[in-house]
Structures are given as C-alpha cells and as structure tokens.
Symmetry: C2
Subunit: 257 residues, 2 copies
C-alpha cells in the first residue's frame, strides 16, 4: 500500500531548513510537516458488526446500482474507491462481520447530501461515516448555474456534521479532501486558487470534527510524478481505476490495524 | 497481501517428519511442499505497454459491461477479482502503461472459450493471459445437460493453450485453479471427489505450459479458518467481494515486482 502521508512528511522535513525548524516546538513541527495537524493522524477503529457508509458525489457513486440496498454488494458499491476500500476491508477483517454501504450520488453538493441525509445516512446508523464532497460545490459555480460560495460549503458541511453527531454521537468520521488535477480535460487554471479554498475548508472541518482525513490532492500531486495526470483521472475530477486504487489505499491507511 | 502459498509451504514443512525429508532431494522437498512443482513458483514479468487479458467464466466476468471494449475501463472489467487485480496493477505499475481487458463470459466451459478465442483472445495479442475455467465443465454435468468429462476438460484446455502458444509464442500464462466451497449453497458432497479431478487437471496443465498458478482452492480452504465459507462466496462457486479480494491478492503474488 502507498504510504503517501509519510512520504509527504519526509519530503517536507527534508525541505525545511534547520533554522526554521528551531523556531518551532516539536508538536508544531509535526503539524507543519503533515500540514494537517490533528486530523491527519486520526484513525478509525472497527468494532465487530460495524456499519461503514461511504457518502459523496459521483467520485464515490462510481456507477453503483441504486436499486440494491444490500450491504457488501459489489454492484451496489460501484466501481470506484469505495468498492476498492470495501474489498480491502472485507479481506483484511473477516472476523469483524462488517456491513459496508455506498450512498454517493453523482452531481451532489453538500446541501443535496443534507436533503437525503435521514434515509441515506442517519437511518443506516453508521459506525464509520466516510464523506468526500466539494468538487461540485465549486465546479457548478463556473457555469453560473450554482451560486454557492466556499462559505456556503463550509457552513452546510458543518451543519451536516453537527446534525450527524447529534443523532449518532459515537460515529467515527472520515473526510476526504476535494481534489482537482489541473491540466486534465475539465480542470484548468480558472479553477485556481478559488478551488483550493474548498480543500482548506474540508481540512479545517475534519480537524474541528476530529475526523480522519484523506489528503486526496496530495495523493494525485504525488502520483503525477510517476505517470501523467490523465493516467490517474480521466477528466481531472473523476478517478481512473489507478486513481481510485490510490485513494482506497490511503483510505485503508486511516483504519487502525 | 495474503501470502497463502508461503504459509502452506511452511505448514507442510512443519508437518513432514525429518525421516521422510531425508529420503527426498532438496528440489523434491520443495516440490512436495508446494504441491505444485514448477508451476507454483512461476511468475510473470510485465514489460512496458503490456496487454493483460483475463479470461474465464462468470467468476471472471463478474457483471462486466460487454458493450465496452476499452482497456482499463472499470465497467468493462466487471466487479470481481479481475477488476481488483487490475486496480492493484494500475496502482503499482504506473510506468508500464498497462492495457487490461476482461473477456470472461458467464456460464462458459473450455469449449466455449475455444469458440470465441480468435476475437476474444488472439486478436488482442495479450502479453499476459490469465485463465480461470473449469467449474462449469464439472457443474453442468450434474444436471445431465452436459456430457463432458474431466478428459474433455483436459483435452480441450490443452488444445486451447497449444493453439494460443502457436499464435502467441511469447505469451505468459496464468492459470487459476477451479474451486468449490463445500457446504455453501450450490456445492455439496455430490461434487466430491469428482470435482477435485478438474483441479488436478488445471494444475497439471499449468505445469505443462509453464504457467503461473493461482491455487484458488487453497485460498478458500485457508480463508474458512477466519470466517465461514458463505462470507467468501455467496453460493460456493461465485466469490463474494471478500473472496474476490483474496483471489486478486494471490493473482498479484505471481507478478514479478
């Protein structure tokens, strides 16, 4: 499995001069190195019979069969990172009797998760809830058809998680960072730096809610060193198999072994 | 990743008395320990731009979209072990520019592979050809609707591979062992010991053609120690996600790193 976060940490530490390190306390050095403070080190623990729910937009949806509501059903899990993570989970934790669901829906922004949250999250009573949302919250503003801002994203996402924690106080959260691969098809310079604010918001929300965090942008940035962006994502937004596979590996890294 | 073959080897060596070991030469000890002689240790090497083809029956098919003939397309790879192996391959070998196809078809026996071999194998010119076939060659005899024997299976499979090697002399072969999990739904004592002969035949054919070998039966037998058979396969024949994930991991074990 890829050890993206560790490599990033190593690269950072290599790049920081001793002088600047001396000015920081050790916890701050680690926080600066990971760039993610507490959220990054957070892991989830799988208890027996745990229910694991993947939520999000098309990246999570990945062509899942919506007419099947069984747990651990390959069609119902789609063919993206959620399915690949499920395959690793079910292989590695056979004694846990895990029940894994994917309820991602293509095109969703945060407010659309909120609209279907009772049926598609709270009623399933997940022990582990993994959410990757945000690229549409930005992308759909480019056409002028959606007027939400990064404040809308941050406020809606915060409200959604507060509502979730109220109903499911013991839920363990995993938040995936929205990402975009510049120069591949749908993604160009017009996205930046505005899109980066959504990444920052997701990371801050992960910290606030003590969620484990999947640093997707770093995953793709690093991946581009070994193959072009178009190898990892078809259009800069949707993962190719290779990208989904990297994401699933990083998702597995936040599960306590 | 699971290291099934090595564990089996270790268990065997632990169980063999020193006296019986002394009567064998070292290569024979290793061969006896693996139970698979040369075939088991065989690995495939991935060259740049390699074409990898998965062939077989429903276990390989796994709901793939037949109207899509693109390489590395998630829908076209189905959602079984072939897709999971493809996801690992594409993640681990980004510099190889691999082209991966799945042409498994549900219900197929060896003679049906032969009927569609020109279009669904030879024309794709695979560098690595992975075949898992045989459960239907036995299973369909139980209803009396198919009259083939294990000799039919062995002869047809041998002829298919001879034809393949003639057209593609450099192809690297991977052969998966047909498997059945007794006591789960479709599989019961009536299958045995007759079904085991198909496993033996597949293994011998792998040795004869110097194919890498995936010992699927051992994978499922070992898996039953950590969760019931029905966790790994829904009906004793078709892998659940967990079973497909184990198979993909073993498939990856025969790829030279």
């Amino acid at each position: 499995m890829e050890q993206q976060p560790n490599s990033n940490r190593r690269n950072f530490i290599r790049n920081v001069s001793l002088g600047s390190l001396a000015a920081l306390s050790l916890p701050n050095i680690v926080a600066a190195a990971t760039g993610e403070k507490k959220a990054h080190a957070k892991k989830v623990t799988l208890k027996k019979d745990a229910v694991i729910l993947f939520q999000g937009d098309s990246i999570t949806d990945a062509g899942r069969k919506r007419d099947n509501s069984e747990a651990n059903n390959p069609g119902a899990l789609g063919n993206g990172y959620a399915y690949l993570a499920a395959a690793s989970l079910l292989k590695e934790f056979p004694d846990k009797n895990l029940k894994i669901y994917n309820k991602g829906i293509s095109g969703n922004k945060v407010y659309q998760l909120a609209e279907r949250w009772d049926a598609d999250c709270l009623q399933l009573k997940p022990d582990v809830l993994s959410i990757l949302i945000g690229v549409n919250d930005f992308w759909h503003t480019l056409s002028g058809n959606y007027k939400g801002t990064v404040k809308t994203y941050r406020d809606d996402f915060t409200a959604l998680l507060e509502r979730t924690k109220q109903q499911l106080p013991d839920v363990q959260l995993i938040i995936g960072e929205p990402f975009a691969v510049n120069g591949v098809s749908a993604v160009n310079d017009k996205w930046f730096p505005a899109f980066d604010e959504y990444r920052v918001a997701a990371r801050e929300i992960a910290t606030k809610f003590e969620a484990a965090f999947i640093p997707c942008q770093a995953i793709y940035d690093k991946a581009e060193k070994s193959a072009p962006g178009s190898y990892w994502t078809g259009d800069g937004v949707h993962p190719a198999i290779a990208g989904a596979s990297l994401m699933a590996a990083s998702w597995m890294d936040v599960v306590k072994k």
